[in-house]
């Protein structure tokens, strides 16, 4: 492997890593705020990405507006997810596993809806900065990929600030850690849960918007995104916003380096085996705290 090729695969790994991290971030936000593992996090991105493609097909709207509306679409789906099925299940006393299945069912529903209304085609969005690339050490990186990294980092820092520096964020955390205690201090617990899902949806929508120019969007891509995001979030420690990004980049690098050094067919085998080993060695995630196994 030449040096340029090595740098090139590092770039690819880091970019993929931030994609996984962004999905993982949405998962972590929802887990942090509601203790629900949201198996349809990837679907936020799929639906938002696809909706943006369709909007740009039909209306001459500028890119930033399309981007913003993709986020809003994700947020609205998150809102409905919490208001209708999740609340209905909570009223009936759902267990941890039943939320997983519920969101899995919603994920199937959304991807089946896209298949029905849009079809099997993969669709592409123009990236930020178009197809322009920058060259470092003889390796090319797309301007869009740099934007993706910058925006993801901003989201991560923003979340950190939200959870430590704002009233809303602290209320969200309180509602999740001790619902009864939070309610007695006047926090509207159900509202905080709804807001949490909405926030997860916003991040998912943004992720879809950023991913589509790199990987295209297809009706069935949500599940794999969710899985990789889940891996990223758990690897980094589900409760730490920085963790998801770190986990995502680790996973992305493992994958691309596996492709570089071994055959590409075994990419997932190697990355996932290393993932299992890391989990056994670091049962609290890379940035997790003691006593929070698996989140």
């Amino acid at each position: 492997m030449t040096f340029a090729l090595f740098v090139q695969s590092l770039f690819a790994g880091v970019t993929n890593g931030f994609v996984y991290g962004l999905v993982g971030l949405g998962l972590a936000v929802i887990f942090r705020g509601t203790r629900v593992i949201n198996a349809m996090q990837g679907e936020f991105s799929t639906v938002a990405g696809m909706a943006t493609v369709l909007m740009l097909d039909h209306w001459p709207i500028p890119m930033p507006v399309a981007m913003l509306s993709a986020m809003v679409i994700g947020g609205v789906i998150g809102l409905f997810l919490e208001l209708v099925p999740v609340r209905a299940l909570r009223r009936r006393g759902g267990t941890e596993d039943s939320y997983l299945l519920l969101t899995l069912g919603v994920a199937f529903t959304l991807s089946a809806l896209i298949l029905y209304f849009v079809g099997r085609d993969s669709r592409l969005l123009p990236g930020i900065g178009g197809e322009a690339t920058l060259i470092f050490f003889d390796a090319a990186i797309r301007v869009h990929a740099i934007w993706l990294i910058v925006i993801s980092t901003l989201v991560m820092v923003g979340l950190k600030w939200l959870y430590t520096g704002t009233h809303v964020g602290l209320s969200m955390m309180a509602a999740s850690i001790d619902a009864d205690g939070a309610a007695t201090t006047g926090i509207n617990v159900p509202l905080m849960r709804t807001a949490t899902f909405c926030l997860g949806g916003l991040i998912g929508g943004l992720a879809g918007m950023l991913i589509t120019p790199l990987t295209t969007v297809r009706y069935d891509m949500g599940m794999l995104l969710t899985l990789k995001g889940f891996a990223a979030a758990i690897l980094g420690g589900l409760t730490n916003p920085f963790g998801a990004m770190l986990g995502g980049v680790t996973l992305g690098l493992l994958e691309t380096l596996a492709v570089g050094f071994v055959s590409s067919g075994y990419k997932d085998v190697i990355a996932l085996s290393i993932l299992i080993v890391i989990m056994i060695l670091l049962p609290n995630g890379m940035l997790g705290r003691i006593g929070r196994k698996g989140g």
């Binding site: 009936r92 039943s98 529903t109 067919g265 996932l272 299992i276």
Partner: protein
């Protein structure tokens, strides 16, 4: 005395009616529906493994498709390619699955919660990739065809109707074994381990060893189902052993209810027959099926099995 006897009699009558209905079904319904019912039987065997891991040990497994695949490929390898008797395929599948479950389960079953779920998911994905990459054994995407049909006591099980009478008794036998296991000393230890692991450990339950044992047992069930599948379909390819298969095993287990022995059978019938029933609505049927799933999860917290059991109990009391 009559009051306690009467519900029992009605239960026995219902059981007899159920068996008669089961025996008559292949004659009453179309060949296509019998075909689906055979798949339901196969899935309920694999799903049972998933179900009791979740219900009794609190382990979410997404690796069942791997053992299902091993069972199927062992039949393809030993029976179809080397012409050995079908028992060898079944046996090697079970043996290999148990060995792999032991090797992989020993380190990973120390994990807990979402970590363990992710680890089993990773296993499922690894298996899916290996089935594709090790194409000198598995035939890769092309698969392996021409698998021999099973024959039992000189009776060739070459139609859906005939296979139906093989697969369901096996499924019922396995469910009965599971019922016994749940109510045995080991079952008690498992429930203690699930609900109060520290207390169980103090009481002398070897938690880790027990979990590994149960994981191996579940793997053997997955392999058994896979071997049956291979003999029934006569063709194996990677597409049948992906992670989506694991997800559907988990789905049918939860849908059926993880605390009843016969829940997986109900769940398996649901995931095979309901999409079929909905298919007359045209292309939209996959949307409808997914929505049915969401509604079932919300309104049947203990699965179909739990709901039915409560209904029966209420009947028995009334």
């Amino acid at each position: 005395m009559h009051k306690t006897l009467r519900p029992r009699i009605s239960l026995v009558l219902m059981a007899v009616a159920g068996v008669l209905l089961w025996a008559a079904l292949p004659v009453l319904v179309s060949r296509h529906v019998v075909d689906l019912l055979v798949f339901a039987g196969i899935y309920s065997i694999a799903g049972l493994g998933v179900s009791y891991l979740l219900g009794n040990c609190g382990i979410v497994t997404l690796a069942q498709s791997v053992f299902y695949g091993i069972g199927a490929y062992c039949v393809a390898y030993f029976s179809a390619q080397h012409g050995l008797p079908s028992g060898v395929g079944f046996g090697m599948g079970a043996l290999l699955s148990a060995a792999i479950a032991f090797t992989v389960g020993w380190p990973t079953l120390r994990l807990s919660g979402h970590f363990l779920a992710l680890a089993t998911l990773a296993l499922g994905l690894i298996g899916q990739t290996l089935f594709l990459e090790l194409d000198w054994i598995t035939g890769g995407t092309l698969g392996i065809g021409g698998l021999p049909k099973l024959s039992l006591l000189g009776w060739n099980l070459d139609t859906p109707q005939r296979f139906y009478y093989l697969v369901w008794p096996i499924a019922v036998l396995v469910m009965w074994l599971k019922h016994n296991l749940t109510h045995s000393r080991n079952g008690l230890a498992m429930r203690a381990m699930r609900d109060a692991p520290d207390a169980a450990a103090v009481a002398g339950v070897e938690i880790h060893a027990l979990k590994v044992k149960m994981f191996m047992l579940s793997a053997i069930l997955g392999s058994l189902a896979g071997s049956l599948f291979a003999h029934y379909v006569g063709f194996v390819s990677v597409d049948s052993f992906g992670v989506d298969r694991s997800i559907s095993f988990l789905l049918l287990a939860v849908l059926g209810g993880v605390h009843t022995s016969w829940g997986p059978a109900l769940g398996a019938i649901f995931v095979t027959l309901v999409p079929e029933a909905l298919s007359r609505f045209g292309e939209i049927h996959s949307v409808l099926f997914a929505m049915t799933l969401v509604i079932a999860v919300i309104f049947l917290p203990h699965g179909l099995g739990g709901a039915l059991e409560r209904l029966l109990r209420r009947k028995a009391v009334a």
